[in-house]
Symmetry: C2
Subunit: 246 residues, 2 copies
């Protein structure tokens, strides 16, 4: 580093935290995992991203795993660092700062947070009762959140859309091995938060080459039973290789 | 944030910096832009990534632009935040810490750095004489660098390979509008640091559909003049759309 100013008062001396954005689809909605925070002063219960200040001895990835575990009990979640947030505006709300000062017994100025992202199958993630306060919350109906957690979640959603544009196979991680055209379309609609024309979707899906119809159909449905499709990874990789660098 | 420990001594209270990795291809090599640092104590000249501590009033992106400008004179470079580095090992070398303490007049403990990345056309980037010390250095022959700058550069190189895998069009940003098969192959070889079989490369290139031969050939060459190719963005986007989400 070069130091641009002799005036050391101008140099930022912040705390650093980690915040974890776990995204999943629960039935019909894109959800994020939130944990409870209780305000010692007001007694109010609010919600926030699982996160905490990092320790003197920790590396960032290590802190992310510890913090997710300590706030939710979860282990072995593949967390990927996706962006740091450090605007001076993060701590503009005095209530948030006061809560953190009470909880940490520290004087809090600015906080730079390193945000991590993971995609989850909601039903496969069990939050133990000890962490009963952690809950999957639809992104479309978030409560008030402290600091810039709304913005971090919005950026995380943009980030998975970019992943999905670049690596379309990710969508099949949200689906069972056999899925209907309806299920695939709904998964896209939920992630991109827009509705799709059914006829165009079918046409496009059939042209992809890597979404393959099977002989099996849905059982026990009151309506005409729909055909099951599967993801053909081999075919996908063939098309992928054409686009890949030489 | 949740606070896991009542012992505030354990909580990290670091400085935060920005480091900028500008990558470009100079002739036959992948290069990174380094700036000079002079050690006030020993008088030794060493090299480092353009970077600095951030100010109390700055957001991260803002700090990155300021710091690149102040250390190199460069403006309007599209910097993209790609990763934060915060290992306690970053400041393991006492010489680095001493240099920074001398330069900043601050007591330095741990530093978390937010790294930014930009891809450049080396010959189009003019470092003004005022910043004569900044220079493009081949990644294959880096000098000793302070802190974890070696690791940051290595991660930046991995990052552009990932970009290129996902968005193959990026490679044409390094090339003139008309290029030979040799130039395209060399650009890949330089970025991926591996040699490619010429015959296989030609076969693959011709099968892509978006690298199109033109009627023009190289002029004034002693050897048999090579054909020029161009990048067909429209065709590329068509293939891209097939892979894209529905």
């Amino acid at each position: 580093m070069e130091i641009q100013s002799e005036n050391s008062k101008e140099i930022l001396y912040p705390h650093v935290s980690v915040d974890c954005v776990l995204l999943g689809i629960d039935g019909e909605q894109l959800c994020v995992l939130l944990t409870e925070r209780k305000d010692a002063g007001t007694g109010k219960t609010e919600y926030k991203l699982p996160g905490s200040l990092i320790y003197e001895t920790e590396d960032l990835d290590e802190a992310a795993c510890r913090i997710l575990n300590e706030t939710t009990g979860l282990k072995r979640v593949l967390l990927k660092q996706f962006r740091s947030f450090g605007s001076p505006q993060r701590t503009a709300n005095k209530e948030d700062v006061l809560w953190l000062e009470n909880a940490s017994k520290l004087k809090i100025g600015r906080i730079v947070t390193v945000a991590y992202l993971a995609l989850c199958k909601v039903r496969k993630i069990k939050i133990s009762e000890k962490y009963g306060a952690a809950q999957w919350t639809p992104i479309a109906s978030l409560p008030r959140l402290p600091f810039d957690h709304q913005e971090i979640i919005a950026e995380a959603v943009k980030e998975i859309r970019i992943w999905l544009d670049r690596e379309p196979a990710i969508v099949f991680d949200f689906l069972p091995p056999l899925f209907t055209a309806f299920q695939l379309r709904r998964t896209y609609e939920i992630i991109y938060n827009k509705s799709m024309d059914v006829r165009n979707f079918h046409k496009k899906m059939n042209s992809l080459g890597y979404v393959v119809p099977t002989e099996e159909t849905e059982q026990g449905m009151p309506h005409r039973s729909a055909r099951y499709y599967r993801f053909d990874k081999k075919e996908y990789n063939k098309i992928r290789a054409k686009l890949n660098t030489i």
